[in-house]
């Protein structure tokens, strides 16, 4: 067990290094002139200005030198100040956001965290619950309904789903608006009397004692959460169902039944715990799905998180911003997967004792 953890943790820097190489390697598809051109506004492109940019940012240097500069920063030939360097927290300047990328991430990340957190636990809870119910009622109508829901849900592209729920619940019924909060609530949040504790509006509003703002924020998040969740519900339903079916076939479950235990005890104490072990591995996948999903969901619902910023940046070929976002999600995902593996090893005695 300890050897396993050590091996995984030692491998972490290798993977992280590889991730940065891969991300930066993508840039080499563009010539120095093409990269400089992204930052020159006026057309026709001024050759002297382009030369200046290429020289100033060292875009004509070998790719490994550029990689190193990108990683640890580079001394500016004019001012002597060190600029850039993702290890120093400098991800460059975002053209679409008109501010440093690091600022933009800091400003917009809480909104994404809030959305992801409010989706994450319901996904696991509801999805698993549905799967277990389906397994207990194997081949009964409820199981068939679950099966159809899972396959239809899994086939429903989330951007189509998002637009359809917007069409129904916003354009038609006016129940759930897009955005993060209403204008009146935003005015209060921006105002002086508002105390910012966590930057998560739902929590801050409760701490500020403003239930009206809490409801307003929640009303804006219902549709995005639904759009982020339903595919994962379908996924969890499948995994939990097959895992539970597998467990119910085990001999110790038969033994428990033969001892005369109540069916509820057999299911809750003997089967469920073991059936949930494979479900934990899904948590890592859920994090990946959420991080990929926020790009689409935030864009459709005009929700001001980092996902919509990344989509906007990608459409406007603001490569620096997109790279920073992808790098960030890659890091989050690697850490999440490591945690999931460790939890799994801890939960499953067959792995723990091996």
């Amino acid at each position: 067990m300890i050897e396993y953890i050590v091996r995984r943790v030692l491998l972490l820097p290798v993977i992280l290094f590889g991730v940065t190489v891969l991300i930066f390697g993508m840039i080499s598809f563009l010539s120095p002139a093409q990269r400089a051109a992204l930052y020159v506004r006026d057309l026709p492109k001024n050759d002297a200005a382009m030369e200046g940019i290429i020289k100033r940012y060292g875009l004509d240097q070998p790719i490994y030198v550029q990689y190193w500069n990108w990683l640890v920063g580079r001394e500016d030939p004019n001012t002597g100040k060190i600029t850039g360097g993702i290890l120093r927290g400098d991800f460059g300047y975002s053209r679409t956001g008109a501010e440093p990328v690091a600022n933009m991430i800091r400003r917009r990340f809480p909104a994404t965290i809030e959305l992801a957190l409010l989706s994450f636990f319901p996904i696991i809870g509801i999805g698993t619950y549905l799967g277990v119910i389906a397994a207990i009622n194997h081949n009964k109508p409820i199981d068939q309904i679950g099966r159809i829901f899972s396959i239809v849900g899994y086939s429903f592209p989330s951007f189509v789903f998002g637009l359809l729920v917007l069409m129904l619940f916003y354009a038609q019924l006016q129940w759930f608006p897009p955005g993060r909060v209403s204008d009146w609530a935003n005015a209060i949040i921006m105002g002086k009397s508002w105390n910012q504790y966590t930057s998560l509006i739902t929590i801050d509003s409760l701490l500020n004692g403003r239930l009206d703002i809490f409801w307003d924020a929640l009303r804006h998040m219902v549709l995005p959460i639904l759009t982020l969740s339903y595919i994962n519900w379908a996924l969890f339903l499948r995994v939990a169902r097959s895992s539970m079916l597998e467990t119910l076939r085990q001999e110790y479950v038969t033994t428990a039944r033969a001892k005369g235990l109540k069916e509820s005890v057999v299911i809750n104490r003997h089967a469920l715990r073991n059936a949930l072990i494979p479900v934990t591995t899904m948590a890592g996948l859920t994090v990946a799905n959420l991080l990929g999903g926020v790009v689409i969901t935030e864009t459709i619902f005009n929700y001001p998180g980092i996902g919509s910023a990344a989509a906007e940046a990608a459409a406007q070929v603001d490569i620096i911003t997109v790279l920073a976002f992808t790098l960030l999600t890659g890091f989050i995902l690697i850490i999440a997967n490591l945690l999931v593996d460790l939890v799994y090893a801890f939960l499953d005695p067959r792995v723990r004792l091996a």
Partner: protein, 357 residues
């Protein structure tokens, strides 16, 4: 029919007469079709035909294939040299609803139109999007785009995956270690995000077309197949016939291509062919976000992206989302229904339990 049984019997009891009733054992009849296809393929085919859900899936896929093949007949293009550009009826930014008459220079009438309705003029069957792009043309020719893109991407993903996976499994050792770490690094990103990033970077380099999105989706789509085929090759590698080939002195790459890969490839091929639905969705999302093809290219995601300007009025302009959206959903559903049945059939734990058959 009973020939194999007799052979076994002779070995066990060489001289004694066979016990009564042995030849009356219920022997499964092997039909002509099964004889021709071999037991494995036959079992899979039978499983698909017996499962009503997968039959629906097969019908859906077949319908889309037919629509794609007959696109020039169903929606005759205005511009024959570039049929994938959706024909426009003016340039007004306001969408028009389904059934509106075609005003300025309509494309040629399809043969069935006058016969069915008796009208001599062409209408916008599914309405128009902003810029007066005809949605009907977009959906019909978009079917071609979807199948084309799906098959191209899948093919290259498979090639790359099989190459990396077989190298890794057959040579093992350090090469295996390095290749698998590289695979892990590619898998460190959410698939869609990585593809979005690469596609955005490739657009200034090669311009807006199908190519950047295809390259991006291939670059981050091969890892699953590499791992799958690696696992299958690892188990096939230890079989006697591989050993036999090695003893006879067959060269490495011949053993790999003639003896190992053909015997290990089948599960990977099945999984891969059914991933087309997912791939087409990823491609559509890229188009939807404006990172795929140029505006006006017949592609489902591209048409749906016109709806982004009309979110508050979606109740009025529903047809921009609903027609291409339903096409996309049914397309993915078709592949997933077949895929679901296939996975049950191929799962060795389900074999013989009657559930997968």
């Amino acid at each position: 029919m009973t020939a194999p049984l007799i052979a076994d019997e002779k070995e066990i009891t060489p001289s004694a007469p066979a016990p009564v009733g042995l030849y009356d054992l219920p022997v499964r009849k092997i039909g002509k079709l099964e004889e021709k296809l071999g037991p494995e393929t036959y079992r899979i085919l039978r499983g698909i035909v017996r499962n009503p859900l997968s039959v629906i899936g097969v019908i859906l896929i077949a319908t889309f294939v037919l629509i794609a093949i007959f696109a020039p007949v169903i929606a005759p293009p205005k511009n024959v040299t570039n049929p994938y550009m959706i024909p426009r009826d003016g340039f007004s930014p306001t969408p028009k609803e389904p059934g509106t008459a075609w005003r300025s220079n309509p494309p040629p009438l399809p043969f069935y139109w006058t016969a069915l309705t008796g009208k001599e003029t062409w209408t916008h069957l599914f309405g128009t999007a902003s810029g007066q792009y005809d949605i009907f043309y977009g959906v019909i020719w978009g079917t071609r785009t979807a199948l084309r893109v799906g098959i191209i991407i899948e093919f290259f993903c498979l090639m790359l995956g099989i190459f990396v996976g077989s190298m890794s499994a057959y040579y093992g050792g350090k090469l295996d270690m390095i290749l698998m770490r590289i695979t892990e690094i590619f898998q460190a990103f959410p698939y869609f995000l990585a593809a979005m990033t690469l596609s955005a970077i490739l657009i200034p380099a090669i311009g807006k077309s199908l190519i950047p999105a295809i390259i991006a989706l291939v670059s981050f789509g091969w890892m699953g197949y590499a791992r799958l085929i690696r696992g299958d090759i690892l188990s096939v590698r230890e079989r006697e016939y591989v050993m036999a080939a090695r003893v006879v002195g067959v060269k490495d790459n011949r053993i790999l291509t003639k003896h190992i890969i053909p015997n290990a490839i089948f599960p990977t091929l099945v999984v891969a062919s059914l991933d087309i639905g997912t791939i087409v969705v990823s491609f559509a999302v890229l188009s939807f976000l404006g990172i795929g093809t140029e505006v006006g290219y017949a592609d489902w995601g591209q048409i749906i992206s016109f709806a982004r300007n009309w979110i508050p009025q979606l109740a009025r302009y529903w047809y921009i989302v609903v027609f291409p959206g339903v096409a996309l959903i049914l397309f993915v559903l078709g592949w997933n229904l077949v895929g679901d049945a296939m996975r049950d059939i191929m799962d060795p734990r389900m074999r013989g339990s009657g559930q997968g058959e």
